[in-house]
């Protein structure tokens, strides 16, 4: 027991030393610089996986594992999200009780705009995601909002994502301190460890993409939202961004927050911004 304790003490002091080394950079006045963050974020993955084509990162685990990529491409011939796509297209065109449709709520009739979501709303002073905008459109037209984690929302976002396929992610951060704060808050959430397993999003998606956690190959964080919403074979159903965040939390034994809480909206803002330039690939299919 004693030997193990001294070993623990030894590694503890080593950790402290290491922490001290990095601290000069940490204590430097942290002016929020999204452009530099995005560049550093993308370079980290481009260098860590030099032979993965940049636009391939949006294919998550399939950019990391050739055998799984083959299985995926086989399924992509007639993908399982085909039904959600058709349902979404039909729902998008079906007028509300008051005769209006989703097209009236969105720029360009909602076609080919997914790459600009989420955006920072100056009036509200907060990030607005596509899922939130869809529900707000429903409420504005006297309809009941959809659940953020169920199929209707997934079908709608699947159709809107499909109309933007291939367009590069294009998230803008206005020169507004609240927008910078939202970006920073999202970044903080992404790197903060939580749950009894003491994982942060980065523990899996930055430190070990391509490796397996139990049976699943981990996706790289770069472009991880570009293919949303996804049909997951494991759920044998569609999953929105909200559903993915909520399930990831509970898998680390952290109690999830309510869908579309500020933290989730901000981390979506952060993850989408750092993936600027990479193509939209939604809706996607995943294991």
């Amino acid at each position: 027991m004693k030997a193990r304790f001294s070993l623990l003490l030894g590694s503890l002091s080593a950790a402290l030393v290491a922490f001290a080394l990095t601290s000069p950079r940490v204590t430097a006045a942290d002016k929020v610089d999204p452009v530099a963050d995005a560049k550093a974020f993308q370079n980290f993955f481009f260098q860590k996986f030099p032979d993965v084509k940049h636009e391939d990162f949006v294919n998550g685990p399939y950019s990391m594992n050739a055998d799984m990529k083959r299985q995926w491409q086989e399924k992509e011939e007639f993908p399982p999200y085909e039904f959600a796509l058709d349902a979404g297209k039909e729902m998008f065109a079906t007028p509300f009780k008051n005769g209006k449709t989703y097209a009236d709520c969105f720029p360009n009739g909602g076609i080919g705009i997914r790459q600009n979501y989420p955006y920072f709303d100056g009036k509200e002073g907060k990030v607005v995601t596509l899922e939130l905008a869809l529900n707000r459109c429903r409420e504005a037209n006297g309809e009941q909002p959809y659940s953020y984690v169920k199929d209707e929302m997934a079908s709608l976002t699947a159709y809107m994502a499909f109309t933007s396929r291939g367009k590069p992610m294009d998230i803008r951060i206005p020169d507004d301190p609240r927008a910078l704060e939202a970006f920073e808050n999202g970044k903080r959430y992404f790197y903060t460890r939580r749950g009894q397993l003491n994982f942060s999003c980065a523990s899996c998606h930055v430190q070990s993409p391509g490796e397996r956690i139990r049976a699943e190959v981990l996706a790289p964080a770069l472009g991880i939202l570009n293919a949303m919403p996804i049909y997951r074979s494991e759920w044998s159903g569609m999953g929105t961004i909200s559903r993915r965040f909520v399930t990831c939390n509970s898998q680390t034994r952290a109690v999830p927050l309510a869908p579309q809480s500020d933290e989730y909206r901000d981390v979506e803002y952060f993850l989408s911004y750092v993936a600027n330039g990479l193509p939209i690939a939604g809706p996607g299919a995943r294991p």
Partner: protein, 101 residues
């Protein structure tokens, strides 16, 4: 490393077994402190699912009149809640260590 050492000590400390059999009063006291800690963790938006389930197990055992198990579960829930509070506070700065720069 620093954090998990602290967590381990915290857990060990609070699990010291009570000498005599626990009765309802012990349980109520243990449950109250556990619930307070759990509320604080929720306030920090860093509640653990195991805290919630252990509190529920404590209530269930108490309803069944098994105050020994109920008190032990309540104490464990308190330890878990305290660990999640420790995690939330230490992460306030620790996250920067992992940030890609």
């Amino acid at each position: 490393m620093k954090r998990s050492l602290a967590l381990a000590m915290l857990l060990a400390l609070s699990l010291a077994p009570a000498a005599r059999a626990a009765n309802e009063a012990d349980y109520k006291a243990a449950y109250a402190t556990a619930e307070a800690a759990s509320k604080e963790a929720a306030g920090l938006r860093n509640q653990w699912t195991v805290t919630v389930s252990t509190l529920a197990a404590a209530r269930k055992a108490a309803d069944g009149g098994d105050f020994d198990r109920a008190t032990a579960a309540a104490r464990e829930a308190e330890a878990l809640a305290k660990a999640s509070i420790f995690q939330a506070n230490s992460e306030k700065d620790a996250w920067k260590a992992m940030e890609i720069r």
